[in-house]
């Protein structure tokens, strides 16, 4: 595990991976979205507005996946003191917040024609809004610590504490009467017709790869910054 704690070794792997993730991810997003927008059928009740599904689901999926990644990286940081874990967690925070915002915005646009309102304070919508605020707080905390590269231990602890919200988002439609419908894709199968499911699956994989590429780019950026910092310090000392 510590083999990749060496930034040079990590970078030699991250550089080609960034490119592959980005190219394949964008390709899948284009194919999935084209299928979803032009070839997938309209929904029986929602009509063409069902097509927002192909953006809404991948963004919210990554919003939750992003915080799960932050929580895992925070545990690795605290338990193993792995230097790259903190860099990874910090790199996930901003795209995570962005995808949460996109999920909320696409959801709101979708809600207007289908539910008849832009916004409701039901369990699902509110818990995802809380996730967005958690991301903002995490970013503020990571920047406030003044540490270059990784994040402070307080920030890592906050990353673990915030993970409480993830199962709450998942269960919010089961525990409470909500306006948001229950889960469509479960362990026992999918209640989304196959005609909608294929472009959705392609987009989920595509968006995830793009998200991965963004995180790798940000990790490389943070590592480069610390290098500059260290070099400047050395030059000042000489």
């Amino acid at each position: 595990m510590h083999a990749y704690a060496n930034p040079t070794r990590f970078l030699s792997l991250a550089r080609p991976l960034t490119l592959w993730f980005l190219v394949i991810g964008l390709l899948l997003v284009v194919v999935g979205s084209a299928f979803g927008l032009f070839f997938a059928p309209a929904d029986r009740l929602m009509g063409d507005s069902v097509r927002i599904l192909y953006i809404h689901v991948p963004t919210v999926w990554l919003a939750m996946g992003g915080w799960t990644a932050i929580a895992i990286a925070s545990i690795v940081q605290i338990a193993w003191r792995h230097p790259l874990a903190a860099v990874a967690a910090r790199a996930v925070a901003v795209p995570g917040a962005l995808f949460t915002a996109l999920g909320l915005i696409t959801g709101s646009i979708w809600a207007r024609p289908t539910w008849g309102t832009w916004w409701v304070w039901d369990g699902r919508v509110t818990s995802v809004l809380v996730l967005f605020f958690l991301y903002l707080a995490y970013i503020a905390l990571a920047n406030a610590s003044g540490e270059k590269g990784g994040v402070s231990r307080v920030t890592a602890i906050f990353g673990i504490v915030g993970a409480v919200n993830i199962p709450i988002i998942n269960r919010s439609v089961v525990w409470w009467n909500s306006l948001h419908q229950k889960a469509s894709i479960t362990v026992s199968g999918s209640s989304i017709d196959a005609a909608f499911l294929w472009p959705l699956a392609i987009n989920v994989i595509g968006f995830s790869l793009v998200f991965g590429a963004i995180v790798l780019m940000r990790m490389r950026g943070i590592l480069a910054e610390t290098k500059v910092e260290a070099r400047l310090k050395r030059m000042a000392a000489e």
């Binding site: 929904d43 009740l45 069902v50 525990w175 306006l179 229950k182 469509s184 209640s191 909608f196």
Partner: protein, 149 residues
């Protein structure tokens, strides 16, 4: 025990305790955080007439009746056990159809009718193409557990 194992045990214990506490707290919130009353809740809890509440349930098949004025609609909301007659004046959302979910803001009148001031449609978890409408695919659509949203 090595120091890193100690830290790992601590971190995981903290995570489990936190998630447990969070889940218990939100689970206890159940009643307060409900977005709406079902017709059974209304039978059970008997909200005071005139108090603003939110009602949610399914629109009973064959129950939608349009009044002569063109904007007032009468229908029955049910949840499988209880029924609640509703009157609403205004424009209904596109998804407001018989057999589908609905959430209404309003209040109960003294005769037990629910006067709705706003109407929201609830979509269910099934996504079916227009061409396949009416074809029975129920075998594919009974869900109990959640994995992914």
């Amino acid at each position: 025990m090595k120091a890193k194992h100690q830290r790992l045990t601590l971190a995981i214990l903290a995570l489990v305790a936190l998630v447990g506490a969070g889940l218990l707290a939100t689970f206890a919130l159940q009643d307060q955080a409900n977005y709406f009353y079902t017709p059974s809740d209304i039978v059970e809890k008997k909200p005071v007439a005139g108090k603003a509440i939110r009602l949610g349930g399914m629109v009973e098949e064959g129950s939608i009746r349009h009044e002569a004025d063109g904007v007032t609609v009468n229908f029955i909301v049910h949840d499988g056990t209880a029924q609640q007659p509703v009157i609403y004046t205004g424009i209904t959302p596109d998804l407001f159809v018989e057999g589908s979910g609905v959430v209404a803001d309003g209040k109960l009148t003294t005769d037990g009718t629910f006067m709705a001031e706003s109407l929201l449609a609830k979509h269910d978890e099934n996504y079916i193409p227009r061409e396949l409408e009416g074809i029975d695919m129920t075998g594919n659509m009974t869900k109990t557990d959640t994995l992914v949203e």
